[in-house]
Symmetry: C2
Subunit: 224 residues, 2 copies
DNA sequence: AGAAGTCCGTTGTAATTACAACATCTGGAG
DNA sequence: CTCCAGATGTTGTAATTACAACGGACTTCT
Protein backbone atom coordinates (compact mmCIF):
# COMPACT_ATOMS: atom_id res chain seq x y z
CA UNK A 1 0.00 0.00 0.00
CA UNK A 2 2.93 2.24 0.81
CA UNK A 3 4.09 2.36 -2.80
CA UNK A 4 0.75 3.82 -3.84
CA UNK A 5 0.75 6.64 -1.33
CA UNK A 6 1.22 9.26 -4.03
CA UNK A 7 -1.73 7.92 -6.02
CA UNK A 8 -3.81 7.86 -2.87
CA UNK A 9 -2.97 11.43 -2.01
CA UNK A 10 -3.96 12.54 -5.49
CA UNK A 11 -7.46 11.13 -5.06
CA UNK A 12 -10.28 13.47 -4.23
CA UNK A 13 -10.85 11.77 -0.90
CA UNK A 14 -7.43 12.83 0.27
CA UNK A 15 -7.44 16.31 -1.22
CA UNK A 16 -5.48 18.76 0.91
CA UNK A 17 -4.00 16.08 3.13
CA UNK A 18 -0.27 15.81 3.73
CA UNK A 19 1.58 12.50 3.71
CA UNK A 20 1.72 11.70 7.45
CA UNK A 21 -1.89 12.74 7.85
CA UNK A 22 -2.84 10.50 4.94
CA UNK A 23 -1.22 7.50 6.58
CA UNK A 24 -3.15 8.17 9.77
CA UNK A 25 -6.36 8.47 7.78
CA UNK A 26 -5.72 5.16 6.07
CA UNK A 27 -5.44 3.45 9.42
CA UNK A 28 -8.51 5.27 10.68
CA UNK A 29 -10.48 4.08 7.65
CA UNK A 30 -9.32 0.49 7.90
CA UNK A 31 -7.76 0.62 4.45
CA UNK A 32 -6.98 -2.66 2.72
CA UNK A 33 -5.62 -3.14 -0.78
CA UNK A 34 -6.54 -6.01 -3.06
CA UNK A 35 -5.07 -7.14 -6.39
CA UNK A 36 -7.15 -8.38 -9.29
CA UNK A 37 -6.49 -10.05 -12.62
CA UNK A 38 -7.85 -8.93 -15.96
CA UNK A 39 -11.63 -9.00 -16.27
CA UNK A 40 -12.12 -9.59 -12.54
CA UNK A 41 -15.01 -8.21 -10.51
CA UNK A 42 -13.84 -5.79 -7.84
CA UNK A 43 -17.46 -5.31 -6.85
CA UNK A 44 -20.46 -7.19 -8.16
CA UNK A 45 -24.08 -6.13 -8.50
CA UNK A 46 -26.18 -7.52 -5.67
CA UNK A 47 -23.50 -7.22 -3.03
CA UNK A 48 -23.68 -4.91 -0.05
CA UNK A 49 -21.37 -1.99 -0.57
CA UNK A 50 -19.85 -1.05 2.74
CA UNK A 51 -16.61 0.39 1.44
CA UNK A 52 -15.47 3.18 -0.80
CA UNK A 53 -12.96 2.08 -3.37
CA UNK A 54 -9.98 3.82 -4.88
CA UNK A 55 -8.33 2.35 -7.93
CA UNK A 56 -4.59 2.32 -7.32
CA UNK A 57 -3.28 0.69 -10.49
CA UNK A 58 -4.63 -0.70 -13.75
CA UNK A 59 -7.98 0.30 -15.20
CA UNK A 60 -11.57 -0.68 -14.60
CA UNK A 61 -15.10 0.08 -15.70
CA UNK A 62 -18.27 0.64 -13.72
CA UNK A 63 -20.80 -1.36 -15.72
CA UNK A 64 -24.44 -2.25 -15.53
CA UNK A 65 -25.33 -5.55 -17.12
CA UNK A 66 -28.92 -5.92 -18.17
CA UNK A 67 -31.09 -8.97 -18.00
CA UNK A 68 -30.79 -9.35 -21.75
CA UNK A 69 -27.01 -9.32 -21.76
CA UNK A 70 -26.47 -5.75 -22.83
CA UNK A 71 -23.97 -3.85 -20.80
CA UNK A 72 -23.87 -0.15 -20.14
CA UNK A 73 -20.58 1.43 -19.19
CA UNK A 74 -21.38 3.93 -16.49
CA UNK A 75 -17.86 5.23 -16.14
CA UNK A 76 -14.27 4.31 -16.77
CA UNK A 77 -11.90 4.36 -13.82
CA UNK A 78 -8.29 5.49 -13.85
CA UNK A 79 -5.85 5.19 -10.94
CA UNK A 80 -6.73 7.64 -8.20
CA UNK A 81 -10.43 7.63 -8.90
CA UNK A 82 -13.06 6.67 -6.35
CA UNK A 83 -15.91 4.25 -6.86
CA UNK A 84 -18.97 3.06 -4.96
CA UNK A 85 -18.97 6.26 -2.87
CA UNK A 86 -22.71 6.79 -3.08
CA UNK A 87 -23.46 3.22 -2.07
CA UNK A 88 -21.03 3.32 0.81
CA UNK A 89 -22.61 6.57 2.04
CA UNK A 90 -26.11 5.13 1.99
CA UNK A 91 -26.81 2.66 4.81
CA UNK A 92 -28.16 -0.64 3.54
CA UNK A 93 -27.59 0.17 -0.11
CA UNK A 94 -27.12 -2.75 -2.47
CA UNK A 95 -24.98 -2.43 -5.57
CA UNK A 96 -26.86 -2.45 -8.85
CA UNK A 97 -23.62 -1.98 -10.76
CA UNK A 98 -20.42 -3.95 -11.00
CA UNK A 99 -16.84 -2.76 -11.14
CA UNK A 100 -14.82 -4.86 -13.59
CA UNK A 101 -11.12 -4.60 -14.28
CA UNK A 102 -9.90 -4.15 -17.83
CA UNK A 103 -6.29 -4.86 -17.00
CA UNK A 104 -4.68 -6.38 -13.90
CA UNK A 105 -5.43 -3.87 -11.18
CA UNK A 106 -5.03 -2.95 -7.56
CA UNK A 107 -7.81 -1.37 -5.54
CA UNK A 108 -7.94 0.17 -2.09
CA UNK A 109 -11.07 -0.38 -0.03
CA UNK A 110 -11.91 2.08 2.72
CA UNK A 111 -14.53 1.65 5.38
CA UNK A 112 -15.99 5.15 5.42
CA UNK A 113 -19.15 3.92 7.10
CA UNK A 114 -17.59 4.34 10.51
CA UNK A 115 -16.80 7.97 9.79
CA UNK A 116 -20.36 8.73 8.78
CA UNK A 117 -22.05 6.74 11.51
CA UNK A 118 -20.53 8.49 14.50
CA UNK A 119 -21.62 12.06 15.02
CA UNK A 120 -18.65 12.88 17.20
CA UNK A 121 -15.52 14.17 15.60
CA UNK A 122 -13.27 12.10 17.77
CA UNK A 123 -10.90 11.72 14.89
CA UNK A 124 -10.02 15.12 13.50
CA UNK A 125 -9.99 13.70 9.98
CA UNK A 126 -13.67 12.96 9.98
CA UNK A 127 -14.71 16.44 8.96
CA UNK A 128 -12.21 16.50 6.16
CA UNK A 129 -13.23 13.08 4.89
CA UNK A 130 -16.85 14.14 4.81
CA UNK A 131 -16.11 17.40 3.03
CA UNK A 132 -13.95 15.65 0.47
CA UNK A 133 -16.58 12.98 -0.05
CA UNK A 134 -19.20 15.66 -0.59
CA UNK A 135 -17.09 17.37 -3.23
CA UNK A 136 -16.39 14.07 -4.94
CA UNK A 137 -19.97 12.85 -4.98
CA UNK A 138 -21.19 16.25 -6.19
CA UNK A 139 -18.73 15.91 -9.05
CA UNK A 140 -19.97 12.41 -9.83
CA UNK A 141 -23.46 13.81 -9.83
CA UNK A 142 -22.55 16.36 -12.48
CA UNK A 143 -20.90 13.58 -14.45
CA UNK A 144 -24.16 11.67 -14.42
CA UNK A 145 -26.11 14.72 -15.50
CA UNK A 146 -23.82 14.89 -18.50
CA UNK A 147 -24.11 11.21 -19.28
CA UNK A 148 -27.89 11.51 -19.12
CA UNK A 149 -27.61 14.39 -21.56
CA UNK A 150 -25.93 12.15 -24.10
CA UNK A 151 -28.10 9.11 -23.51
CA UNK A 152 -31.26 11.23 -23.64
CA UNK A 153 -30.65 12.00 -27.31
CA UNK A 154 -32.90 10.00 -29.56
CA UNK A 155 -30.63 8.86 -32.39
CA UNK A 156 -27.16 7.39 -32.46
CA UNK A 157 -25.96 10.37 -34.47
CA UNK A 158 -27.25 12.82 -31.89
CA UNK A 159 -25.75 10.81 -29.07
CA UNK A 160 -22.38 10.81 -30.80
CA UNK A 161 -22.44 14.52 -31.51
CA UNK A 162 -23.58 15.27 -27.97
CA UNK A 163 -20.77 13.20 -26.50
CA UNK A 164 -18.02 14.30 -28.85
CA UNK A 165 -18.80 17.99 -28.64
CA UNK A 166 -18.84 17.72 -24.86
CA UNK A 167 -15.40 16.16 -24.95
CA UNK A 168 -14.14 18.88 -27.28
CA UNK A 169 -15.52 21.51 -24.91
CA UNK A 170 -13.98 19.83 -21.89
CA UNK A 171 -10.56 19.49 -23.46
CA UNK A 172 -10.82 22.98 -24.90
CA UNK A 173 -9.96 21.89 -28.41
CA UNK A 174 -11.64 20.55 -31.51
CA UNK A 175 -8.90 17.93 -31.54
CA UNK A 176 -9.10 15.52 -28.66
CA UNK A 177 -8.80 11.92 -27.50
CA UNK A 178 -11.47 9.84 -25.88
CA UNK A 179 -10.87 7.10 -23.29
CA UNK A 180 -13.06 4.51 -24.99
CA UNK A 181 -12.62 2.18 -27.91
CA UNK A 182 -15.58 1.59 -30.21
CA UNK A 183 -17.23 -1.17 -28.24
CA UNK A 184 -16.85 0.77 -25.01
CA UNK A 185 -18.17 3.97 -26.54
CA UNK A 186 -21.19 2.08 -27.81
CA UNK A 187 -21.73 0.62 -24.36
CA UNK A 188 -21.36 4.06 -22.82
CA UNK A 189 -23.98 5.55 -25.15
CA UNK A 190 -26.18 2.44 -24.98
CA UNK A 191 -26.23 1.77 -28.73
CA UNK A 192 -25.13 -0.99 -31.03
CA UNK A 193 -21.45 -0.96 -31.88
CA UNK A 194 -21.73 -1.61 -35.59
CA UNK A 195 -24.54 0.87 -36.03
CA UNK A 196 -22.50 3.44 -34.17
CA UNK A 197 -19.42 2.67 -36.22
CA UNK A 198 -21.54 3.10 -39.32
CA UNK A 199 -22.89 6.45 -38.16
CA UNK A 200 -19.39 7.58 -37.24
CA UNK A 201 -18.23 6.92 -40.77
CA UNK A 202 -21.21 8.77 -42.20
CA UNK A 203 -20.26 11.78 -40.11
CA UNK A 204 -16.73 11.45 -41.43
CA UNK A 205 -17.92 11.20 -45.05
CA UNK A 206 -20.08 14.28 -44.53
CA UNK A 207 -17.02 16.19 -43.41
CA UNK A 208 -18.36 16.80 -39.94
CA UNK A 209 -15.51 15.10 -38.14
CA UNK A 210 -12.34 13.12 -38.60
CA UNK A 211 -10.94 10.36 -36.45
CA UNK A 212 -8.36 7.68 -36.13
CA UNK A 213 -8.81 5.21 -33.33
CA UNK A 214 -9.41 7.23 -30.17
CA UNK A 215 -8.25 10.47 -31.73
CA UNK A 216 -11.04 12.76 -32.94
CA UNK A 217 -11.37 16.13 -34.58
CA UNK A 218 -14.58 18.11 -34.99
CA UNK A 219 -14.57 19.95 -38.31
CA UNK A 220 -18.01 21.56 -38.46
CA UNK A 221 -20.53 22.29 -35.77
CA UNK A 222 -23.23 20.21 -37.40
CA UNK A 223 -26.02 21.97 -35.57
CA UNK A 224 -24.78 21.20 -32.15
CA UNK B 1 -41.44 31.34 4.72
CA UNK B 2 -42.65 30.65 8.25
CA UNK B 3 -45.72 28.78 7.02
CA UNK B 4 -43.48 26.27 5.24
CA UNK B 5 -41.33 25.46 8.25
CA UNK B 6 -42.74 21.96 8.52
CA UNK B 7 -42.02 21.21 4.86
CA UNK B 8 -38.54 22.60 5.30
CA UNK B 9 -37.86 20.47 8.35
CA UNK B 10 -38.96 17.38 6.47
CA UNK B 11 -36.37 17.96 3.76
CA UNK B 12 -33.18 15.95 3.83
CA UNK B 13 -31.12 19.06 4.32
CA UNK B 14 -32.77 19.66 7.69
CA UNK B 15 -32.89 16.06 8.84
CA UNK B 16 -32.53 15.78 12.59
CA UNK B 17 -32.88 19.50 13.20
CA UNK B 18 -35.41 20.91 15.67
CA UNK B 19 -37.56 23.92 14.88
CA UNK B 20 -35.56 26.71 16.56
CA UNK B 21 -32.33 25.31 15.16
CA UNK B 22 -33.91 25.20 11.71
CA UNK B 23 -34.81 28.86 11.87
CA UNK B 24 -31.26 29.72 12.83
CA UNK B 25 -29.96 27.63 9.94
CA UNK B 26 -32.24 29.42 7.50
CA UNK B 27 -30.79 32.75 8.55
CA UNK B 28 -27.29 31.35 8.41
CA UNK B 29 -27.90 30.12 4.86
CA UNK B 30 -29.45 33.36 3.65
CA UNK B 31 -32.70 31.62 2.78
CA UNK B 32 -35.09 33.38 0.44
CA UNK B 33 -38.37 32.07 -0.92
CA UNK B 34 -39.70 32.82 -4.40
CA UNK B 35 -43.10 32.14 -5.98
CA UNK B 36 -43.54 31.00 -9.56
CA UNK B 37 -46.47 30.58 -11.94
CA UNK B 38 -47.20 27.49 -13.96
CA UNK B 39 -44.53 26.52 -16.48
CA UNK B 40 -42.02 29.00 -15.05
CA UNK B 41 -38.29 28.43 -14.90
CA UNK B 42 -37.00 28.29 -11.34
CA UNK B 43 -33.53 27.66 -12.73
CA UNK B 44 -32.47 27.72 -16.35
CA UNK B 45 -29.68 25.89 -18.13
CA UNK B 46 -26.69 28.14 -18.66
CA UNK B 47 -27.05 30.01 -15.39
CA UNK B 48 -24.57 29.82 -12.55
CA UNK B 49 -25.98 27.74 -9.75
CA UNK B 50 -24.92 29.24 -6.48
CA UNK B 51 -27.84 28.11 -4.37
CA UNK B 52 -29.45 24.87 -3.33
CA UNK B 53 -33.19 24.84 -3.86
CA UNK B 54 -35.98 23.25 -1.86
CA UNK B 55 -39.42 23.03 -3.39
CA UNK B 56 -41.91 24.25 -0.78
CA UNK B 57 -45.19 24.03 -2.68
CA UNK B 58 -46.46 22.96 -6.09
CA UNK B 59 -44.58 20.59 -8.35
CA UNK B 60 -41.69 20.91 -10.77
CA UNK B 61 -39.50 18.89 -13.10
CA UNK B 62 -35.77 18.87 -13.61
CA UNK B 63 -35.51 18.74 -17.39
CA UNK B 64 -32.82 18.72 -20.03
CA UNK B 65 -33.85 20.22 -23.33
CA UNK B 66 -31.84 19.09 -26.31
CA UNK B 67 -30.79 21.11 -29.28
CA UNK B 68 -33.38 19.31 -31.38
CA UNK B 69 -36.25 20.13 -29.08
CA UNK B 70 -36.50 16.82 -27.29
CA UNK B 71 -36.73 17.07 -23.56
CA UNK B 72 -35.57 14.56 -21.03
CA UNK B 73 -37.15 14.59 -17.60
CA UNK B 74 -34.34 13.98 -15.15
CA UNK B 75 -36.52 13.96 -12.07
CA UNK B 76 -39.84 15.14 -10.77
CA UNK B 77 -39.84 17.29 -7.66
CA UNK B 78 -42.35 17.18 -4.83
CA UNK B 79 -42.49 19.65 -1.90
CA UNK B 80 -39.62 19.07 0.49
CA UNK B 81 -37.22 17.85 -2.18
CA UNK B 82 -33.89 19.48 -2.92
CA UNK B 83 -32.56 20.45 -6.31
CA UNK B 84 -29.35 21.80 -7.81
CA UNK B 85 -27.37 20.48 -4.83
CA UNK B 86 -24.52 19.11 -6.91
CA UNK B 87 -24.14 22.33 -8.86
CA UNK B 88 -24.21 24.44 -5.73
CA UNK B 89 -21.54 22.23 -4.18
CA UNK B 90 -19.23 22.55 -7.16
CA UNK B 91 -17.53 25.95 -7.44
CA UNK B 92 -18.03 27.54 -10.84
CA UNK B 93 -20.51 24.94 -12.05
CA UNK B 94 -22.95 26.00 -14.73
CA UNK B 95 -26.38 24.43 -14.95
CA UNK B 96 -26.95 22.16 -17.91
CA UNK B 97 -30.47 21.43 -16.73
CA UNK B 98 -33.51 23.57 -16.05
CA UNK B 99 -36.04 23.35 -13.27
CA UNK B 100 -39.52 24.06 -14.59
CA UNK B 101 -42.73 24.29 -12.56
CA UNK B 102 -45.70 22.19 -13.55
CA UNK B 103 -48.12 24.02 -11.27
CA UNK B 104 -47.78 27.35 -9.44
CA UNK B 105 -45.00 26.75 -6.97
CA UNK B 106 -42.88 28.18 -4.20
CA UNK B 107 -39.19 27.47 -3.87
CA UNK B 108 -36.66 28.20 -1.17
CA UNK B 109 -33.14 29.11 -2.26
CA UNK B 110 -30.27 28.54 0.16
CA UNK B 111 -26.76 29.83 -0.20
CA UNK B 112 -24.83 26.76 0.92
CA UNK B 113 -21.69 27.98 -0.81
CA UNK B 114 -20.70 29.96 2.28
CA UNK B 115 -20.92 26.85 4.44
CA UNK B 116 -18.65 24.90 2.15
CA UNK B 117 -16.15 27.64 1.51
CA UNK B 118 -15.06 28.29 5.09
CA UNK B 119 -13.13 25.55 6.76
CA UNK B 120 -13.89 26.83 10.24
CA UNK B 121 -16.98 25.63 12.00
CA UNK B 122 -17.84 29.05 13.32
CA UNK B 123 -21.48 28.19 12.98
CA UNK B 124 -22.20 24.90 14.69
CA UNK B 125 -24.69 23.97 11.98
CA UNK B 126 -22.06 23.74 9.30
CA UNK B 127 -21.11 20.20 10.10
CA UNK B 128 -24.71 19.10 10.12
CA UNK B 129 -25.47 20.84 6.84
CA UNK B 130 -22.53 19.14 5.19
CA UNK B 131 -23.45 15.72 6.54
CA UNK B 132 -27.04 16.12 5.43
CA UNK B 133 -25.96 17.34 2.04
CA UNK B 134 -23.69 14.34 1.67
CA UNK B 135 -26.51 11.94 2.48
CA UNK B 136 -28.83 13.73 0.08
CA UNK B 137 -26.40 13.85 -2.82
CA UNK B 138 -25.44 10.22 -2.29
CA UNK B 139 -29.13 9.39 -2.55
CA UNK B 140 -29.47 11.43 -5.73
CA UNK B 141 -26.50 9.55 -7.05
CA UNK B 142 -28.21 6.22 -6.51
CA UNK B 143 -31.31 7.67 -8.17
CA UNK B 144 -29.22 8.45 -11.25
CA UNK B 145 -27.72 4.99 -11.29
CA UNK B 146 -31.24 3.66 -11.45
CA UNK B 147 -32.32 6.05 -14.16
CA UNK B 148 -29.27 5.07 -16.18
CA UNK B 149 -30.32 1.46 -15.72
CA UNK B 150 -33.64 2.15 -17.38
CA UNK B 151 -32.30 4.38 -20.11
CA UNK B 152 -29.52 1.95 -20.88
CA UNK B 153 -32.01 -0.64 -22.09
CA UNK B 154 -32.10 -0.88 -25.85
CA UNK B 155 -35.81 -1.12 -26.68
CA UNK B 156 -38.84 0.79 -25.48
CA UNK B 157 -40.31 -2.43 -24.12
CA UNK B 158 -37.21 -3.16 -22.08
CA UNK B 159 -37.11 0.39 -20.77
CA UNK B 160 -40.73 0.16 -19.69
CA UNK B 161 -40.27 -3.18 -17.97
CA UNK B 162 -37.10 -2.00 -16.30
CA UNK B 163 -38.80 1.10 -14.97
CA UNK B 164 -42.09 -0.47 -13.97
CA UNK B 165 -40.55 -3.44 -12.20
CA UNK B 166 -38.28 -1.06 -10.30
CA UNK B 167 -41.32 0.90 -9.15
CA UNK B 168 -43.08 -2.29 -8.11
CA UNK B 169 -40.01 -3.32 -6.12
CA UNK B 170 -39.72 0.09 -4.51
CA UNK B 171 -43.36 0.23 -3.50
CA UNK B 172 -43.25 -3.40 -2.44
CA UNK B 173 -46.29 -4.37 -4.46
CA UNK B 174 -47.19 -5.47 -7.95
CA UNK B 175 -49.89 -2.79 -7.83
CA UNK B 176 -48.53 0.72 -7.76
CA UNK B 177 -48.86 4.28 -9.01
CA UNK B 178 -46.28 6.23 -10.93
CA UNK B 179 -45.78 9.99 -10.72
CA UNK B 180 -45.72 10.54 -14.47
CA UNK B 181 -48.34 10.82 -17.17
CA UNK B 182 -47.61 9.28 -20.56
CA UNK B 183 -45.75 12.21 -22.07
CA UNK B 184 -43.67 12.63 -18.94
CA UNK B 185 -42.88 8.95 -18.73
CA UNK B 186 -41.78 9.01 -22.36
CA UNK B 187 -39.58 12.02 -21.62
CA UNK B 188 -38.17 10.28 -18.57
CA UNK B 189 -37.25 7.19 -20.57
CA UNK B 190 -36.16 9.22 -23.62
CA UNK B 191 -38.54 7.57 -26.09
CA UNK B 192 -41.39 8.66 -28.30
CA UNK B 193 -44.72 9.00 -26.52
CA UNK B 194 -46.89 7.30 -29.11
CA UNK B 195 -44.45 4.46 -29.61
CA UNK B 196 -44.33 3.98 -25.87
CA UNK B 197 -48.09 4.11 -25.57
CA UNK B 198 -48.24 1.50 -28.29
CA UNK B 199 -45.76 -0.75 -26.54
CA UNK B 200 -47.63 -0.33 -23.27
CA UNK B 201 -50.81 -1.57 -24.90
CA UNK B 202 -48.98 -4.53 -26.41
CA UNK B 203 -47.78 -5.48 -22.95
CA UNK B 204 -51.36 -5.16 -21.73
CA UNK B 205 -52.68 -7.31 -24.57
CA UNK B 206 -50.05 -9.92 -23.83
CA UNK B 207 -51.29 -10.10 -20.26
CA UNK B 208 -48.02 -8.89 -18.81
CA UNK B 209 -49.47 -5.87 -17.08
CA UNK B 210 -52.61 -3.85 -16.56
CA UNK B 211 -52.99 -0.13 -16.12
CA UNK B 212 -55.37 2.75 -15.93
CA UNK B 213 -53.86 6.21 -16.10
CA UNK B 214 -51.04 6.29 -13.55
CA UNK B 215 -52.15 3.11 -11.85
CA UNK B 216 -50.26 -0.02 -12.88
CA UNK B 217 -50.25 -3.68 -12.03
CA UNK B 218 -47.62 -6.20 -13.05
CA UNK B 219 -49.21 -9.56 -13.79
CA UNK B 220 -46.30 -11.64 -15.05
CA UNK B 221 -42.61 -11.25 -14.68
CA UNK B 222 -41.98 -11.17 -18.40
CA UNK B 223 -38.35 -12.16 -18.04
CA UNK B 224 -37.38 -9.29 -15.90
C1' DA C 1 6.80 -16.48 -40.19
C1' DG C 2 2.60 -18.23 -38.65
C1' DA C 3 -1.27 -18.46 -35.40
C1' DA C 4 -4.47 -16.37 -32.50
C1' DG C 5 -6.79 -12.57 -30.76
C1' DT C 6 -8.59 -7.94 -30.93
C1' DC C 7 -10.38 -3.95 -33.00
C1' DC C 8 -12.64 -1.71 -36.59
C1' DG C 9 -15.34 -0.88 -40.76
C1' DT C 10 -18.93 -2.69 -43.91
C1' DT C 11 -23.09 -4.87 -45.46
C1' DG C 12 -27.87 -6.84 -45.55
C1' DT C 13 -32.04 -7.92 -43.30
C1' DA C 14 -35.46 -8.00 -39.85
C1' DA C 15 -37.17 -5.52 -36.18
C1' DT C 16 -38.00 -1.32 -33.85
C1' DT C 17 -38.70 3.42 -33.56
C1' DA C 18 -39.84 8.33 -34.72
C1' DC C 19 -43.12 11.15 -36.48
C1' DA C 20 -47.40 12.82 -38.00
C1' DA C 21 -52.10 12.45 -38.05
C1' DC C 22 -56.39 11.29 -36.23
C1' DA C 23 -60.03 9.14 -32.99
C1' DT C 24 -61.60 8.75 -28.36
C1' DC C 25 -62.18 9.95 -23.76
C1' DT C 26 -62.15 12.94 -19.82
C1' DG C 27 -62.79 16.95 -16.84
C1' DG C 28 -63.47 21.73 -16.42
C1' DA C 29 -65.15 26.35 -17.92
C1' DG C 30 -68.59 29.07 -19.67
C1' DC D 1 -75.45 21.16 -21.89
C1' DT D 2 -71.86 22.53 -25.11
C1' DC D 3 -67.40 23.70 -26.05
C1' DC D 4 -62.69 23.27 -25.31
C1' DA D 5 -58.27 21.61 -23.88
C1' DG D 6 -55.54 18.00 -22.50
C1' DA D 7 -54.43 13.17 -22.15
C1' DT D 8 -54.43 8.77 -24.21
C1' DG D 9 -54.82 5.15 -27.70
C1' DT D 10 -54.35 3.85 -32.66
C1' DT D 11 -52.56 3.60 -37.23
C1' DG D 12 -49.42 4.00 -41.26
C1' DT D 13 -45.11 5.21 -43.23
C1' DA D 14 -40.42 6.50 -43.46
C1' DA D 15 -36.33 6.37 -41.02
C1' DT D 16 -33.33 4.29 -37.81
C1' DT D 17 -31.53 0.63 -35.28
C1' DA D 18 -30.22 -4.14 -33.71
C1' DC D 19 -28.16 -8.14 -34.99
C1' DA D 20 -25.39 -11.29 -37.35
C1' DA D 21 -21.81 -12.06 -40.30
C1' DC D 22 -17.59 -11.12 -42.67
C1' DG D 23 -12.95 -9.20 -44.09
C1' DG D 24 -9.01 -6.41 -43.29
C1' DA D 25 -5.58 -4.26 -40.27
C1' DC D 26 -2.94 -4.61 -36.38
C1' DT D 27 -0.71 -6.72 -32.11
C1' DT D 28 1.12 -10.31 -29.44
C1' DC D 29 2.91 -14.62 -28.63
C1' DT D 30 5.24 -18.83 -29.84
Amino acid sequence: MKKYLEIIRQSKLFAGVDAPEAEAMLRCLGARSVSYGKGAYILQAGEHADAVGILLAGSACIVHESFWGNRNIVAKLCPGQLFAEAFACTPGAILNMSVVTETPSVALLLDVRRVLATCSSACTFHTRVIRNLLADIAGKNLYFYEKLTHMGQRTTRQKLLSYLSAQALRQGSAVFDIPYNRQELADYLAVDRSAMSNELCKLRDEGILAFRNNHFELLRHALF
